[in-house]
Symmetry: C2
Subunit: 348 residues, 2 copies
Amino acid sequence: MATEMRSDVAVLDLPRPYLLFLGDVREAGFAKTAFGLRDWAPELCIGEFALPGSTVSIGLPALSPAEAYAKGARSLVIGVANYGGIILPGWVDALVDALANGLHIISGMHGPLHRIAALREAAALHGRRLIDVRVPPANIPMATGRKRTGRRLLTVGTDCALGKKYTALALSRALTARGLNAEFRATGQTGIMIAGRGIPMDAVVADFEAGAAELLSPDAAPDHWDIIEGQGSLFHPAFAAVSLGLLHGSQPDLFVVCHQPGRMTVSGLPDYALPSLGETIDLTLRLGRRTNPSIRCAGISLNTAHLDDVERQRVLKEASARTGLPTADPMRPGPAFEALVDSCLRTS
Amino acid sequence: MATEMRSDVAVLDLPRPYLLFLGDVREAGFAKTAFGLRDWAPELCIGEFALPGSTVSIGLPALSPAEAYAKGARSLVIGVANYGGIILPGWVDALVDALANGLHIISGMHGPLHRIAALREAAALHGRRLIDVRVPPANIPMATGRKRTGRRLLTVGTDCALGKKYTALALSRALTARGLNAEFRATGQTGIMIAGRGIPMDAVVADFEAGAAELLSPDAAPDHWDIIEGQGSLFHPAFAAVSLGLLHGSQPDLFVVCHQPGRMTVSGLPDYALPSLGETIDLTLRLGRRTNPSIRCAGISLNTAHLDDVERQRVLKEASARTGLPTADPMRPGPAFEALVDSCLRTS
């Protein structure tokens, strides 16, 4: 299974290390691929490359493609995701320049790289590869709803891009650190670039969405943990289909709700209020019970990167009091996070 | 918009009339494409063609491809859908024979016809077309959640294949008969073959599912009705993603719950109990309110084709009493169905 997924998703031979391309991004939330690689695979990232107009830095050395190649980079990774998942026309000249200067291009966008004639031609001219990570494996079966062996945890969110991947990665590391057999299951382009395999769940045909989730976390030993990266939100007017298929197919025993305190509306859709933690728990339980009647919420993960210590403690306490559940920022090691891990390991 | 969808989905130039191919189907539920065409576009159907082993007839003359061609047929339509949506190896010889005898082939299966070498070669040899209806339009945008003008009704189901398409077609005809401006919006292969256009919602990439639903029923005049064919069920462990994306993107003002009395478990998944009508109404309201806070349930549509008159009256009364809503079998004209239509037209 794992071997098949590797060959289908074809990410294990990504030419490394990476130069992270930021385009002309002005909102850090849209650079989550770059931040994710910096935070979880720093050994693979030697620099960042932004276009004029970008106001975001991820704190790596700013390098041109030529400079990055001279320092050893072998691929430029599209480190930004816009609404729509497309390569913008304003990026193409810079990407052609990267191909001319020795770099392959790796993308997790919806629109395949080879669809852009200028990139196709430059890649052919210079002998470079155009690698699309957002290509699901072929022949995904329909979901069967059959209960699988092993333990599963899914991270779910009140919105997109607020910590589901980081939470899953942190929990996966924490369980491993406790000597448990835990595996991070990547469901999006950045996670796949970090983990080296996975299924890009938002690129799967809707009829096969739950089937892909079943494929992603196959039968395993009873003490094996799959820590599954959540996608979207059940409350997102564009992406809830992805979230529900992933929930049904994952059959999680546990879920952790991820939220960013202070975010009041859906990212990019200011007319849509974010659900409360309680609403998110309640709807996830209700829908998740369909394929795993014993699903439970293990706790809350808050993304507090933008808060000072006082404010951080306040929001953690408030969320814990409101939900009655262990609450932590998984990027802040300590007793709160260990209590969240304890809650995940509770057997009933 | 409509013109674009026509050209993308490319169903308006389907060579007609049809010979309906039943394969080796043994369960009428899997022949829903053939039944749908017979019931809603009888003028297009001149015969049926089954393989040895099939135990299902749809009541049309049994004709070989050669006989059908001689009677005027110009296409063989794959009239069956199996779990997985694939052309079975045992069908290929018969399909090659149809191509050799003058017929084009029209399919709504997931697996494209041209992927099968024998069909590709026979089509090329005989100058025939292989037409896949289950191909969504290119460049579907992400959903925006923006409220659109016009009225929308969605049929939803307790399960697959129990009357959502028939209910939408019957309601669309009934509203038109009352002089209203109503349009049937097809979301599956059979509906598209009947209507001549639509979007095959289960073949859309999950991230664009709600966006496709928004595209399917664009802004319209305030008194215009879109009657949208539902897909799957929010309770189906394989297909709920399709149902939720369609619900969110359709933003229905109204929905009608479709059910087949006596069906206790999900078709093909005997371990999964069907939800009650009440649970279906409740979950549809809860999820549908996200994109249309004024969504309401207009009534219940029961598929009673398998019941006698006494039993039919009993189940209709029982469902109406249990839900407090108008309940009818839309295939049985009469006061009950007119009351259901009245309920749809109620303005509050």
